[in-house]
């Protein structure tokens, strides 16, 4: 299976218009005005997806589809969001009881049906959907019994996931619409979109995704060594997003961290962000016993930013057999989306979509959480991917 930026754009646009149909369906059904915030095309493993569902304590509805294309689609709410939706369609019904469950199944049916209709329209084909299955914490995972190809799904098999973040306008409820096509379905769609000259085998993207995961592991190990607190990689993701979607997916809260520029193959920008209390705790961990002033705290954050960036990127340079230079970390304390916005804007001057790398590292004790966002420049990333393609597997 080969993929290129054109195919990914087509996927992204299809998923976005499908999600808009789904949002519109929900608005019609419940009167809850809903907008599609961000659409991402992600390359992950089935295990990543299952893990995300467990960690977010999602309440979700799953629907299978087949015909013109095959796969699975899932609507996921956090628990409070599910209650709000149930309340809107059936006032007085408690979440968790049978009526609420069937209400959510109906919402899932309507939204996911709308979503799949969008794809069927574009591909000029017909797609059948199965009856909805309600999934709760104790039930099956979202991808149980799902397989990309003819062989049974393995935990570390790569899947292409379309992840749409939707948001209601009044009371803010965020929910997610996932679509995981089978390999055959991806091929069908790619055939209509790919410029074969530029396409890269999906294994290249897989290798890149693994390289990112290794970088995050190294960064996490370095943080553990520096702070003396065991840190783990929570998420490590490679996704393809419209450039304006990069800042939009970030919560509108105040963050502390650093921003750096990296140059080489590839070049781009990195932001390493902590929430305010995490940054306080990490600065204290690095400056034990001293009554450090603001300037010392800032330089402690810059130092950890440097360490994380090196950990994150050194492995890339080794793997790609290139040199990646890192600028001095710039300290930042501002609204999260406003920090990312100038980075996305720099790239927006030459590209409409971006590969976004995001990783979350946190301690088991929840002492701190650290988000790493990397935005490589598309042209140089392409060179890096070519380099990966040329390497023996």
């Amino acid at each position: 299976m080969n993929l290129d930026v054109h195919a990914l754009r087509t996927f992204s646009q299809l998923a976005h218009s499908g999600a808009e149909k789904a949002a519109w369906s929900l608005s019609q059904l419940t009167g809850i005005e809903t907008l599609v915030n961000v659409t991402k095309v992600e390359l992950g493993t089935a295990a990543d997806v299952e893990c995300e569902f467990r960690e977010h304590d999602f309440v979700s509805v799953r629907i299978g589809f087949s015909g013109g294309i095959d796969g699975r689609t899932i609507l996921a709410f956090d628990r409070d969001g599910a209650q709000d939706v149930v309340e809107a369609i059936m006032p007085g019904v408690e979440a968790g009881d049978e009526l609420a469950t069937s209400g959510l199944k109906e919402v899932g049916n309507i939204m996911l049906g709308g979503f799949i209709d969008g794809w069927a329209d574009h591909l000029d084909t017909s797609i059948d959907i199965t009856t909805p299955t309600y999934l709760d914490v104790d039930s099956d995972g979202p991808l149980d019994d799902f397989s990309m190809g003819d062989d049974p799904q393995q935990e570390d098999d790569h899947v292409l996931v379309f992840r749409n973040q939707l948001e209601t306008v009044g009371k803010p409820v965020t929910f997610y619409l996932y679509m995981v096509p089978t390999a055959g379905a991806v091929e069908t769609i790619v055939d209509t979109a790919t410029d074969s000259e530029e396409a890269l085998p999906i294994e290249t993207f897989t290798a890149f995704s693994e390289m990112i995961a290794e970088g995050a592991e190294q960064a996490s190990a370095d943080i553990s060594a520096m702070t003396g607190t065991e840190a783990v990689v929570d998420v490590s993701r490679l996704s393809f997003v419209p450039i304006e979607g990069v800042p939009m997916q970030i919560a509108d809260t105040t963050r502390v961290g650093v921003v750096l520029e990296f140059t080489g193959i590839p070049s781009g920008y990195i932001a390493i962000l902590f929430d305010e209390s995490s940054s306080e705790r990490i600065a204290s961990a690095l400056l034990p016993g001293s009554d450090a002033g603001e300037a010392m705290r800032q330089s402690a954050i810059q130092e950890i930013g440097n360490i994380i960036t090196s950990g994150f990127l050194d492995g890339w340079a080794n793997r790609l057999e290139t040199t990646i230079e890192i600028s001095t970390p710039r300290f930042v304390h501002d609204l999260g989306p406003a920090i990312i916005d100038p980075l996305a804007t720099e790239l927006a001057q030459t590209q409409d979509y971006a590969f976004l790398i995001d990783s979350t590292i946190r301690t088991n004790t929840d002492e701190f959480t650290c988000d790493i966002y990397a935005l490589p420049n598309q042209v140089e990333l392409r060179k890096a991917l070519d380099q990966l393609t040329a390497q023996p597997v």
Partner: protein, 168 residues
């Protein structure tokens, strides 16, 4: 009044209208239009007090000749916003503007001139072309901003992490 969106029309159930990045929206005198996370991006608020029509745009880059994504660029989003407001009963001659954003949060080695500065300059230029006076602005600096436009007064509330909240 219906709220403009590029997606299918949703039944309107709230007076709060969220404007994304590379996006714009129009509301009435009961609307509160908000947009968050302006770094180098610029927010352009237009208001026709008599008609009670308010519009807010969140543009990423100064110029967009030949591009189809009108909402992404200052020079294309301003005429689109004006046209939409006029279709909702506003008069181009009565429109007044407020600007916020366009900061230079970081100076990168790879950039020549700050996108924030260029965005603000493009907003001045484009509004001048349409003879729209700028009543107030909170632009530049090195901090981010989130905005809320009050459709009943034309007040633009500007929130930032470092400077706090104020109204222009």
């Amino acid at each position: 009044m219906e709220v403009y969106r590029s997606e299918p029309p949703a039944r309107r159930t709230t007076d709060r209208i969220k404007v994304g990045i590379a996006d714009f929206a129009v509301g009435d005198d009961e609307s509160r239009l908000s947009t968050s996370g302006l770094g180098s991006c610029v927010g352009i608020a237009l208001y026709d007090e008599r008609a009670g029509v308010a519009g807010l745009a969140h543009a990423m880059l100064p110029g967009g000749e030949g591009k189809d994504d009108v909402a992404k660029y200052v020079d294309t989003v301003v005429p689109a916003l004006i046209a939409k407001m006029e279709s909702e009963g506003a008069s181009g001659r009565r429109l007044r503007a407020k600007l916020a954003g366009g900061s230079t949060m970081f100076e990168f080695d790879s950039t020549d001139r700050s996108v924030g500065d260029r965005n603000v300059a493009a907003a001045h230029e484009t509004l001048a072309e349409f003879d729209i006076p700028i009543d107030a602005e909170d632009v530049g600096g090195d901090h981010g901003r989130s905005l809320e436009l009050d459709g009943s007064t034309g007040d633009l509330h500007v929130r930032s992490a470092s400077v706090g909240e104020h109204t222009i």
